[in-house]
């Protein structure tokens, strides 16, 4: 995994979170983000996100982190 590629994915998912912050509470925003990622991201991008959140996901927006965890749980 390249750092710049992962940086881009973190930037992308955080941007999704910020743009949907009015969708409801953190759980609702996370649901929205997870749905978007599920629908539009490639298999490998999702896998990279899963690995990143497993390692702590430090740079993720809280709602994006919750979304990543939901996606990981679904995939498991």
């Amino acid at each position: 995994m390249s750092q710049s590629e992962m940086d881009r994915l973190v930037q992308m998912i955080n941007q999704i979170a910020i743009n949907n912050i009015s969708a409801g509470d953190e759980n609702a925003v996370a649901e929205m983000i997870a749905g978007h990622v599920q629908k539009f991201w490639s298999r490998r991008m999702k896998q990279m996100l899963g690995e990143y959140v497993e390692q702590g996901g430090e740079e993720l927006h809280p709602a994006a982190k919750l979304a990543a965890q939901k996606l990981s749980a679904q995939a498991a």
């Binding site: 881009r8 743009n19 949907n20 978007h36 490639s42």
Partner: protein, 956 residues
């Protein structure tokens, strides 16, 4: 084609749209016509052809030549049939001795001041004056030819495409009226009076120096050889014509390719074309010479490394080489290590085949298209709100609009034929609101009635549209009945609460947008109360970090005011390239099969799997920017690019170049060695729209036929190349004509179910959805319900989030980019035509305030730096933008406009934020490092091409 009129016949005056019929008698023939029809047109409809010179049916009647005089029972004199409305019970005589004498006398006067060089005249065989002289039986000119005349009037050859020969002018004013009524530029006038009357361009300037936009309407209107295409002067009259569709811009104009054998003599706008009704712009009308330009790639080429010369090979060897490399890479790096890009310049059928090859032949969904970098937010935003990824209207719908709101679009430059139609409606009195950081030409429309400009700061679209919607909701301007009946209730309630909040008020947003609150309130009131209000938008909406949010905000505004589902209203994305709509429809995006059917939908996927005979991956593939990142990371190794130039058109050029260099195999199929092809290992010659059969779909969802008028220069149409590549990869494709591909598309795409070439021949064109419910297509969408949820539109929450690309001490200015009339997209086509006469370099427009602060004058070389890169352009001091905003175009590759644009992108679709880049500008004396490297690489790659041609010639 099914036409309600013969598009090849000139009926003399325009059709009346009245539903009331009047019955009259012309030369003893009874005929019923709509009230308001002229006697001339009524006669023509009965196949009675009254002689005419100043009349033509795309211009209002003028009544100046008098040659169309008739006699009407019970009336005195000989009225002009073009200006006399047909009335019930009228009895008209068009031919008798008195009329014949009158017409001969008039014609005699015309001919007494006309060169008698018919046999050597370029209009010989296509001259209405000659025809009318024949029709009236002119046999002598009693006045002689020695009197005062205009026979020595000079020619104006300043325009590269047509010549103005004043000696042949009969001052019928058709050119002047075409420029005013059809084009709306008002560049031409009749200067002087009486015998001294003459056609003048601008302030009696050369055509090239005047405001003339070279649309060709005057040339089309001229009944003599006064205004004549240079190509006809050089080649003579065409001997046959083929109706086809223009390959420039999303208007999708129909043209007659006027041919001599397999040579195009001229492109004449086709009156039967539903998108353009016989009008054209400088690109479609004249800029077709690129098709036979010396730079065309005429043979397939391969090389192992991009630092090696090309080697010309047979099609078989090139296809075999490409297939072998793709297989080897997949064997070593996995199924998902390769992908491809479809083209918005190619046909629907070709685009469909490329994504099919990727999904079925490559076995993954790594397919994307250039709509990624232009209108992908339209697809997302309209699907979320209205349920369909497409504009809602026909172009003609604008003629029913009372208010036109143009956001982030420049129709007179980027969609000129529609821009002219819009101007016609504005002259009739519709209100105009333009929301754009730049003062666009539409605001300078002659005879404009009510107009306002909202010059917002780049990057604040959502703040503006939210403020407009806030006014609508808080001032009680909503269409409550429409909302209750047509929109989903819960989503509306949530949106209403959201948008009513004071933080969205114009007063609160004034500091963000830079637009006065009072202006926003006035604009909202005008839009909401106009009656029929339509929104037209372009890349100034989509190419932002909130592009998708803005599209949804636009849909919200239209829904809240009930401006959806009928003529004159709607949400109208103006698509950039000719087949952006089609390439999206055809399943180019990595998450969607044709017809916007998600790859995860097992039912839709199952249908494709059954026909294609393979299993399709249920996970989306990579988008273009993700392909680049993955390539740099070493995970993505090969790419098949048909008809796109990602190295020039995509943002952050240095990042794109790094990604392209990282590929083990890049296969480019194009008509020229474009910027992307300089990084390629396989170069497959492409075919222009003149060399193939297929269909394009324009911005109004209109599917139009593209017809082959000449053989492909390298022997194959683009779809044939994809078929051969697929077969070489082991995934069999077997089509003998694009019509078979369309049949397959129709069988798998619900919105195309009833589309076929046979039906296109019958109807001329079809607007999707075209299915059992709408057997001949759907001009206006969402008339009864929305294809979403339970049929009700969905209001979306559109929170404004400022872009991270902001001006700073280091980069204090905001750069925004756009288009110009004479050039098209990356310029690969138009730069290889005489359109260069108007725009041979990209320049940077700087506001006088910013220019003065930096000591900048017109023509200075300016270094432009952003966090992504540095380039150098020449300066033009201009007040079109607000202070703090600079502007350029990206039509010339050596400009490096995209060296400075960043990889910021739309949150939902990754559409790049071309419209906002923080920059600094300063005077410099030399090109940038990137430009020097570009120049060196360009020279090297051109020499590789020449070496290949020389080696091939030697081998023969």
């Amino acid at each position: 084609m099914l036409q309600h009129f013969d598009p090849n016949k000139d009926y003399g005056t325009p059709a009346s749209l009245s539903e009331k019929l009047v019955t009259l008698e012309i030369d003893g023939v009874e005929i019923s016509v709509p009230e308001g029809t002229s006697v001339m047109r009524a006669a023509a409809l009965a196949d009675i052809n009254i002689p005419k010179l100043c009349a033509t049916d795309n211009l209002e009647s003028f009544g100046s030549c008098r040659i169309c005089a008739v006699q009407i029972e019970g009336r005195r004199g000989t009225p002009a049939s073009c200006t006399t409305p047909a009335e019930a019970g009228m009895k008209v005589t068009t031919q008798n001795e008195k009329l014949a004498k009158l017409r001969r006398n008039i014609m005699e006067l015309y001919i007494s001041d006309h060169p008698l060089d018919c046999l050597t005249c370029p209009a010989n065989g296509d001259c209405e004056l000659q025809d009318m002289a024949g029709a009236v039986g002119l046999r002598e000119v009693r006045y002689g030819f020695d009197g005062e005349n205009h026979l020595d009037a000079p020619k104006d050859t300043s325009n590269p495409y047509f010549t103005f020969d004043a000696s042949k002018c009969i001052v019928c004013s058709r050119c002047v009226r075409a420029c005013s009524e059809v084009q709306g530029t008002f560049a031409l006038t009749i200067d002087g009076r009486g015998f001294d009357s003459k056609v003048a361009a601008g302030q009696d300037e050369d055509f090239l120096d005047s405001e003339c936009v070279s649309c060709g309407a005057c040339v089309q209107a001229c009944p003599t050889a006064t205004l004549m295409e240079n190509s006809v002067i050089e080649m003579g009259q065409p001997e046959h014509s083929v109706v086809t569709t223009c390959a420039y811009c999303g208007v999708g104009c129909s043209f007659k390719a006027d041919m001599k054998g397999d040579q195009v003599v001229r492109m004449t706008p086709y009156k039967g074309g539903e998108a353009n009704h016989g009008h054209s712009c400088v690109k479609g009308r004249f800029a077709f010479g690129y098709a036979t330009h010396k730079d065309r790639i005429r043979a397939p080429m391969i090389r192992d490394s991009i630092d090696q010369p090309w080697k010309e090979v047979s099609w078989e060897e090139a296809i075999g080489f490409a297939a072998r490399r793709l297989k080897e890479i997949q064997a070593e790096h996995g199924r998902e290590s390769i992908g491809g890009i479809t083209s918005s310049r190619c046909t629907n059928e070709e685009t469909y085949l490329v994504q099919k090859l990727i999904r079925a032949g490559f076995g993954n969904n790594n397919t994307d298209t250039c709509a990624r970098v232009c209108h992908s937010p339209t697809g997302y935003g309209l699907k979320q709100t209205l349920g369909e990824s497409a504009g809602t209207q026909t172009f003609d719908s604008v003629m029913q609009s009372d208010c036109v709101l143009v956001i982030g679009a420049n129709p007179t430059d980027a969609h000129p034929v529609f821009g002219s139609l819009m101007r016609r409606r504005l002259r009739e009195g519709a209100s105009l609101i333009v929301a754009d950081p730049r003062h666009i030409d539409l605001l300078d429309t002659p005879h404009l009635n009510d107009s306002m400009h909202l010059p917002l700061r780049p990057g604040t679209n959502v703040a503006l549209v939210n403020a407009l919607a806030h006014v609508v909701v808080t001032e009680g301007l909503e269409d409550k009945e429409f909302i209750a009946k047509r929109c989903e209730g819960d989503a509306y309630s949530k949106w209403r609460d959201f948008i009513s909040d004071e933080r969205h008020s114009p007063e609160h947003m004034e500091a963000v947008t830079g637009v006065a609150a009072a202006d926003i309130r006035q604009a909202a009131r005008t839009y909401a109360t106009a009656g029929n209000a339509a929104i037209y938008y372009g890349l100034g909406v989509t190419e932002h970090s909130q592009g998708s949010t803005m599209v949804m905000g636009i849909a919200n505004l239209a829904l809240a005011t009930g401006n959806i589902g009928r003529e004159g209203v709607g949400v109208n994305p103006l698509r950039g390239q000719n087949n952006v709509q089609g390439s999206c429809d055809m399943g180019s995006f990595p998450h969607e099969l044709p017809g916007y059917q998600h790859v995860a939908d097992p039912v839709a996927r199952g249908r494709f799997e059954a026909v294609w005979g393979v299993e399709i991956d249920h996970e989306p593939g990579l988008r273009i920017p993700n392909m680049f990142d993955a390539a740099i990371a070493g995970q993505f190794r090969a790419m098949y690019v048909q008809g796109e130039d990602i190295a020039q058109s995509d943002p952050n050029t240095q990042h794109v170049e790094q990604a392209l260099r990282a590929l083990d195999c890049l296969i480019v199929q194009d008509i020229f060695l474009n910027e992307t092809a300089k990084f390629a290992h396989v170069l497959l010659p492409g075919s222009t729209f003149l060399e193939k059969n297929g269909t394009f779909t324009n911005a109004e969802r209109r599917i139009n036929r593209v017809r082959k008028v000449m053989p492909p220069i390298a022997g194959k149409e683009d779809w044939e190349v994809t078929v051969e590549l697929s077969n070489a990869l082991g995934y069999p494709m077997d089509y003998s004509h694009p019509s078979e591909i369309m049949d397959e598309i129709a069988s798998l795409t619900p919105s195309f179910k009833n589309v076929s070439y046979e039906k296109l021949e019958q109807e001329g064109s079809l607007q999707w959805p075209c299915n059992d419910e709408h057997p001949v297509g759907s001009p206006i969408m969402h008339v009864e319900n929305f294809p979403i949820g339970d049929g009700k539109a969905h209001f979306a929450i559109t929170e404004f989030v400022a872009t991270t690309e902001r001006s700073s001490r280091r980069y204090p200015l905001l750069l925004t980019t756009g288009r110009i009339l004479s050039q098209y997209n990356v310029g690969a086509q138009t730069r290889r035509t005489d359109n260069q006469a108007w725009h041979d370099e990209d320049i940077l427009e700087v506001h006088p305030y910013d220019a003065e602060e930096r000591g900048i004058k017109d023509g200075d070389w300016l270094g432009i730096s952003s966090r992504a890169g540095h380039t150098v352009l020449r300066a033009l001091v201009s007040e079109r933008m607000q202070p703090g905003v600079v502007y350029t175009t990206f039509h010339h590759p050596h400009s490096g406009a995209n060296v400075i644009t960043t990889d910021n992108s739309d949150w939902a679709t990754n559409c790049p934020e071309y419209k906002v880049t923080a920059v600094q500008v300063e005077k410099v004396t030399q090109p940038s490092e990137w430009q020097k490297n570009f120049h060196d690489n360009h020279e090297r790659q051109q020499s590789f091409l020449k070496e290949a041609a020389a080696a091939a010639a030697e081998a023969q």
